[in-house]
């Protein structure tokens, strides 16, 4: 094959050939072909196997790479143009936000905790996705796939950058934003997305595409971004709304790429089905565990709430997910194995997480609080079968301990799940009074899990998951030797500043004082 339009051998229909004038514009279809498919060539100095050594070992059989469809038919030059326009708009608004003290327009300083979690847990995931797609673009053997992955790699680093830039304005005024990169690698509550991305990036290119392109981008991204960006809009955070909008059109492209990849694999060979199904089961569950952070943000951290986590799940999980898996049923794909357990967990997970964050808030780079009576009434209304029975009594007891001047701090560190790395805060399906515990013996060591879903992941790849780096056990290992102050320094957490209760924090005092200055003379 050739690499230029002029001598590509199929130029009969191109305007260039018709007009004979060099430099005449190509139509969109030809332009797409010239700028993507025609960029590839058949190697002669090296074998395809030597150039693409990772496309076969996962067991996915591909007979025709050209069958890969690119629904957006976006070429690199058009991509640059679109993205540059988005960047210009984004930075204009972020500048205006900074110059107009946009940080004082948010509903309440409590909202900052949601932003801190986003910056520590999610933005570094965008960067990890950038690295992963750069790698996938190199490892896949088809040009259409390579170009699509390359664009997504650039999208992802742009998302990481725009998020960091948008939130850097808050870092000028508030605590807990400053060490997000260290927090991502070392903090106990961010190790869930870290391990998610590390797992995906150390998998082969096809599994990576299922993990990020399909599970995260297609099945779960609406549950992450739609509620989060609506939450930002409801709570007056123009900076976050802006990076959300700037990313939105990219996300549409990513979702399409993820779906295209899964259909491509399933259409190429019937032997691919069981491999793909196992990945869907695995990555749905891993993604669902990451979403626990989002559930807490929605139900507890937004001063002005958009909808409950349950309501979001009903729309973006059940409705969209059911439609998707109905569509994929013709390939033989079944809904993910953990789907029913996930559905049961929806009415519990945000409460379980927030109770956990609050009792370990000496180790969080954000503030927590006991929900107000009004908040608790809202939670009762949204979770009529679970909140009053299981969770309100715990909050009321915690409130009582705080009022008595003996606030509840759980100084016992938490058992973590070997797979998702979250504290094992989840209860048995069907029994919200009993913590779920699964245990496996492997090569003479005990391994513990928060759920059947996480144990399944381990059972399928034990040699990978015995290597999990678990932040809480690490605190007791050689370098930190159980010292909490040393641990705080290592994770970038400033004690009595970044952590603890919202009420009485520097964030609360500053937000209140600065806001007062905008409406009064004192």
């Amino acid at each position: 094959m050739t690499t230029t339009a002029a001598n590509s051998g199929t130029t009969a229909k191109t305007p260039t050939a018709k007009s004979g004038a060099p430099g005449a514009k190509l139509n969109m279809k030809d332009r797409y072909r010239v700028m993507t498919r025609d960029l590839g060539w058949e190697p002669t100095y090296q074998s395809r196997e030597a150039i693409y050594p990772y496309v076969e070992y996962e067991g996915i059989k591909v007979h025709d790479w050209d069958a890969w469809e690119d629904p957006f038919r976006l070429t690199m030059d058009a991509y640059w143009k679109f993205q540059a326009e988005k960047e210009r708009k984004f930075y204009a608004i972020v500048d205006a936000h900074a110059q107009n003290n946009g940080h004082l327009h948010i509903t309440d300083g409590r909202y900052l905790s949601a932003l801190k979690i986003f910056l520590q847990a999610i933005s570094p995931g965008e960067y990890a996705a950038h690295r992963g797609f750069a790698r996938a673009g190199r490892e896949f053997a088809g040009v259409g796939t390579q170009v699509a992955c390359q664009m997504q790699a650039i999208d992802e680093i742009r998302h990481a950058q725009t998020q960091v830039h948008a939130l850097s304005n808050y870092n000028k005024f508030y605590d807990g934003f400053h060490a997000f990169a260290d927090a991502r690698d070392r903090m106990w509550y961010t190790s869930v997305p870290r391990s998610f991305f590390d797992d995906a990036m150390s998998a082969g290119p096809f599994e990576f595409m299922i993990a990020i392109g399909f599970s995260f981008e297609y099945v779960l991204t609406n549950l992450l971004f739609v509620p989060f960006m609506s939450g930002a809009a409801y709570n007056g955070d123009l900076a976050t709304v802006t990076f959300g909008f700037s990313a939105q059109s990219d996300e549409a492209r990513h979702m399409t790429l993820g779906l295209e990849c899964i259909k491509f694999m399933l259409e190429q060979d019937p032997d691919n089905l069981p491999i793909v199904q196992a990945w869907i089961d695995k990555w749905f569950w891993r993604g669902f565990r990451v979403l626990g952070l989002v559930s807490t943000m929605m139900d507890y951290m937004l001063p002005k709430r958009v909808m409950s986590w349950r309501e979001a799940w009903n729309i973006y999980g059940i409705e969209n997910g059911t439609a998707l898996f109905r569509d994929l049923a013709r390939y033989g794909i079944k809904p993910p194995k953990g789907w029913d357990d996930a559905e049961q967990a929806i009415d519990h997970m945000s409460h379980q997480f927030m109770l956990a964050f609050h009792q370990w808030n000496f180790g969080t780079s954000f503030h927590t609080w006991v929900p107000s009576d009004e908040d608790m009434d809202w939670l009762s209304e949204k979770y009529p079968t679970t909140f009053d029975r299981y969770y309100r009594p715990r909050w009321e007891h915690i409130k009582k301990l705080e009022a008595a001047g003996t606030p509840f701090k759980n100084v016992g560190l938490a058992q973590l799940c070997q797979t998702c790395q979250l504290p094992c805060v989840f209860t048995e399906p069907g029994d919200p009074t009993t913590l779920c515990h699964r245990e496996v013996e492997y090569k003479g060591e005990h391994y513990h899990f928060c759920s059947d879903g996480c144990q399944d992941v381990f059972d399928n790849e034990p040699e990978k998951f015995i290597q999990s780096w678990l932040p809480m056990p690490h605190l007791f290992q050689e370098d930190l030797a159980g010292s909490v102050p040393d641990w705080m320094q290592w994770v970038g957490l400033i004690n009595d500043t970044d952590n603890g209760e919202y009420v009485g924090s520097g964030d609360e005092q500053n937000f209140t004082a600065w806001r007062r200055q905008t409406t009064s003379n004192s």
Partner: protein, 117 residues
């Protein structure tokens, strides 16, 4: 199949006992007492007696629960790794067969102030 890889692949566990400076991890859960969001993780020497573990760190940790004062350690029911377990409080963790990352749970029937049982 333990891992799909391009060649033979053997993982090295990150949390094996030799990393814990002569001590070991023990996980303990109080059944149906979910004020404590997850099982406790304790790092203790294997020579510590079971009684010292219970009356020392464990008693301190469960203090904030309204049922804590009513716990009768002589009658609680223990399991280890999900199986019935009768620890001897005078013997060490090692002698009781509580090795690194053992998972213990105790039940205190009748004490259920906060859990919505």
């Amino acid at each position: 199949m333990t891992f799909t890889s391009t060649k033979e692949y053997v993982g090295v566990p990150r949390d094996s006992v030799e990393h814990f400076r002569g001590e070991q991890l023990v996980y303990i859960a109080w059944h149906q007492h979910l004020l404590f969001a997850a099982p406790f993780m304790l790092c203790v020497p294997p020579q510590m007696t079971f009684g010292d573990l219970v009356h020392g760190p464990l008693t301190m940790l469960i203090g904030p629960d309204p049922d804590a004062a009513a716990v009768d350690w002589d009658t609680v029911v223990w399991t280890k790794g999900g199986k019935p377990f009768s620890p001897d409080p005078a013997k060490s963790l090692a002698e009781n067969g509580i090795d690194h990352k053992s998972w213990l749970r105790f039940e205190t029937a009748g004490l259920n102030s906060l859990c919505g049982v």
